[in-house]
């Protein structure tokens, strides 16, 4: 991303500097940055490393260890399929397949147009209304294998080339 690089750097800095220069706030900084940028840019991680005086390698290991973080930008619509047990036995795996058939993306991937990204989450604690899909914070309950396709279409997703 070109644009105003120094402005972007400052945005990272203002998030990071809102926390004291202590190691124990690294996780919180990352969470705020993930929310602001939709991923963790390398420059931001480097700034955290300098701010709290912890080697970059350690910061990187945390960014890759915790599931909440992504090192690549997520789509405009981040689809989270809950694959907790309750959702799983109510066929959440079928929803993942249906998304692949429709958008051509697998969990962890972002579509080429940047519109959709897909990930699975372990359990959002809404088991009573399984299977659940969360898209940009909105929870869709009891999603069927045909329902997921309707949801994607309503957000502007187009059928992948194949007719199957």
């Amino acid at each position: 991303m070109a644009g105003n690089a120094s402005q972007v750097q400052e945005d990272y800095m203002s998030v990071i500097q809102s926390y004291p220069e202590e190691k124990r706030y690294i996780l919180a900084m990352m969470q705020d940055l993930q929310r602001q940028c939709n991923y963790l840019p390398r420059e931001a991680l480097e700034q955290i490393s300098r701010h709290v005086d912890v080697p970059f390698a350690k910061i990187y290991s945390m960014a890759t260890f915790y599931k909440a973080f992504s090192l690549v930008p997520k789509g405009k619509y981040a689809i989270k399929i809950c694959d907790g047990t309750a959702c799983h036995i109510k066929s959440s795996a079928v929803l993942i397949d249906q998304i692949f058939n429709t958008l051509g993306i697998k969990p962890g991937e972002t579509g080429e147009d940047g519109l959709f990204s897909l990930e699975t989450v372990n359990c959002i604690g809404a088991c009573a209304i399984a299977p659940v899909v969360v898209i940009n914070g909105k929870v869709h309950s009891k999603v069927s294998s045909s329902g997921i396709v309707d949801i994607i279409r309503s957000l502007g997703g187009h059928e992948n080339d194949a007719d199957n």
Partner: protein, 601 residues
């Protein structure tokens, strides 16, 4: 917020837990407030509040009207006008919004008359769905912080003794006696001590901690403050999953309100004791539910566990003595202190006292949170409270304890559930997930699912867990694909036993449970996969073929409408046909069919 209301005031409680919000309860709440605003000329005195999760998410959005004690289910924004005009103004019941008892076919006015609630005994969930979690005044109205007042008149040792006598065991999984843990921490010489609330609820299929943190955050705080008096701690942390946004919002607000009221902070209630609480948001790693990993994570590291030759009560957070308890455990503390240990200990079984909250989910009619006395049988929970299996199908197994637990078969349905009975049956209490499975659940695939989950969550620090789980997963995946071999089952057992002995932390030690318990009770299902290349449940796709039984099919067309790939054809009122070339074996038709006309080859 004004709470001094006259007895005639209509109180309208809208459940705004995650489940009901997903079904649109916030919109209902806003619409109600709009329709009841002072300038609308509604003559009835009303008071609306958004409550935490009632646990009956299946029927949401739920709206309760007091003092009439009316419960409306599946309320939509369009229903609000009728509720205001008919029920609020004229006291008329709206029949179509009432719950219809599937057994008696009768409409039920109050949720108290429904089996799902009638047979429960609420302690940890006592306020949930009744109080407004955003209002400390409401909590005080319900007797909140009275336990703390009482604790301030007791000596630290008296508080600990009371908790020991109550017989409370940790609700997070292992069931360690809470009072003993406190005693051990209180006995440490070190002046700095910490208290942690473990709200990193990672077990897929369990959501009671979320519900408590969202719906009754002050209970958790009160429990922690009482413990701080008992062990002499000055700081506390609540570690919550970052995904639980509503829980974080409500807890943050509760902490601020508690500070303003003098329950938290410097010199609590004017006494010589200071204690404050901070929220730490978890990064979404299952292993952080393990206490030593959680502590490492709060310190600002990768959340890896350590060997527990020294317990956190001696050396915990930053090397200081630390008490760490689960959310549900904390929620029990105020009740024990306020009502006394005897009353609490009178509930439950010999070695497991009090109640347990279960999240009853899966293929069961009434899903949601259920709190029952320890020692209640699985049959009572699943059939009397849960209303039995969906579509009247056959019960196959219930999975308890999350990825560390196991599957319990139908012939153990009368098992009285407590910490010890579940362990004996090869499963465990865990955090209290109860996932009900019917004939369309493949036990091999369930075992594979848990191992897949654990393979992703193993932190990789110790070899048995990192490599062992992966090996077991490979074998299970092969079996699910129809490539299993006869020797695989022995190999799985052998690997499982090695993991139990040699892994560093509880994640690895208990990881084989889903496999070993299904092998113990459902071995023949594994053998059918391996020998006959068939998945009797119709789940493993390479081994499944669905077909329509023409004798049963009445051509209603429900399956055709719901098939995502248009693989089902047939004239109306004529038996339908599934095209095996087009079918993706998703099982949607099987699940939808009301006549059990879809069969598995």
């Amino acid at each position: 917020m004004m709470l001094t209301t006259s007895p005639d005031t209509k109180k309208i409680l809208v459940c705004c837990g995650t489940g009901c919000q997903a079904s649109g309860s916030l919109e209902v709440y806003r619409e109600l407030n709009k329709k009841l605003a002072p300038d609308t000329g509604v003559q009835v005195e009303t008071y609306t509040k958004a409550t935490g999760c009632n646990g009956w998410c299946e029927q949401g959005p739920l709206v309760k009207i007091l003092p009439d004690d009316i419960t409306y289910c599946h309320v939509a924004v369009a229903d609000v006008e009728a509720i205001v005009e008919k029920t609020i103004k004229n006291g008329e019941l709206i029949k179509k919004l009432l719950y219809r008892d599937p057994a008696t076919k009768k409409q039920v006015k109050s949720h108290h008359e429904i089996d799902f609630y009638k047979k429960q005994h609420k302690i940890a969930l006592r306020h949930i769905g009744e109080i407004d979690p955003a209002s400390i005044e409401d909590y005080l109205d319900w007797g909140g912080y009275q336990a703390l007042q009482k604790a301030l008149t007791m000596s630290p040792q008296d508080i600990i003794t009371e908790v020991i006598r109550s017989g409370l065991r940790g609700r997070g999984g292992a069931g360690f006696p809470t009072g003993i843990k406190w005693q051990s921490c209180a006995g440490q010489e070190e002046p700095a001590k910490y208290i942690i609330c473990n709200g990193d609820e990672g077990d897929p299929g369990a959501f009671m901690d979320r519900s408590i943190m969202e719906g009754d955050p002050h209970t958790v705080l009160e429990g922690m403050i009482i413990a701080s008096l008992a062990i002499g701690a000055g700081h506390g942390f609540i570690y919550v999953r970052d995904e639980y946004e509503l829980a974080i919002t409500n807890l943050t607000r509760a902490i601020n309100d508690a500070r303003i009221h003098g329950y938290l902070g410097h010199n609590i209630m004017g006494r010589d004791h200071s204690f404050d609480i901070e929220i730490v948001r978890g990064g979404g790693a299952f292993v952080c539910g393990e206490e030593t990993a959680l502590i490492t994570s709060i310190e600002g590291n990768v959340g890896e566990p350590r060997d527990k030759y020294v317990f956190p009560t001696a050396k915990g957070l930053w090397g200081k003595p630390t008490v760490i308890n689960n959310v549900e455990t904390w929620a029990n503390i105020p009740v024990i202190v306020k009502d006394g240990a005897e009353k609490f200990a009178s509930i439950g079984t010999d070695k497991s006292k009090g109640t347990k909250v279960f999240s009853l989910v899966g293929k069961v009619v009434n899903t949601g949170l259920v709190e029952v006395p320890m020692g209640t049988s699985l049959r009572e929970i699943i059939y009397d409270i849960g209303g039995g299996i969906l579509k009247g199908r056959a019960f196959k197994a219930v999975q308890t304890g999350g990825p560390s637990g196991g599957c319990i078969p139908a012939d153990l349905l009368d098992l009285k559930v407590d910490f010890d009975s579940l362990t004996e049956a090869g499963s465990m209490m865990g955090s209290g997930g109860l996932i009900v499975m019917d004939e369309h659940t493949c036990m091999v695939e369930v075992a594979r699912y848990y191992l897949h989950f654990l393979a992703g969550e193993s932190c990789g620090k110790c070899v048995p867990c990192r490599e062992g789980i992966r090996c077991m997963l490979e074998i299970l995946t092969r079996i699910c694909e129809g490539k299993g071999e006869a020797a695989d089952l022995d190999m799985l057992e052998d690997l499982g036993k090695t993991l139990e002995i040699a892994s560093l932390c509880a994640l690895g030690k208990t990881a084989p449970n889903p496999v070993l318990s299904t092998l113990r009770y459902f071995r023949s299902e594994y053998e059918t996969h391996i020998r006959d290349h068939r998945c009797p449940a119709g789940v493993c796709r390479s081994l499944t073929e669905f077909y329509v039984d023409p004798e049963i099919c009445n051509g209603c067309g429900l399956c055709t409408k719901n098939c995502p790939v248009n693989a089902i054809s047939g004239e109306k009122k004529e038996p339908h046909l599934i095209s095996q070339e087009l079918c993706i074996r998703c099982g949607e038709c099987f699940n939808r069919c009301n006549f059990m006309a879809i069969k598995v080859k």
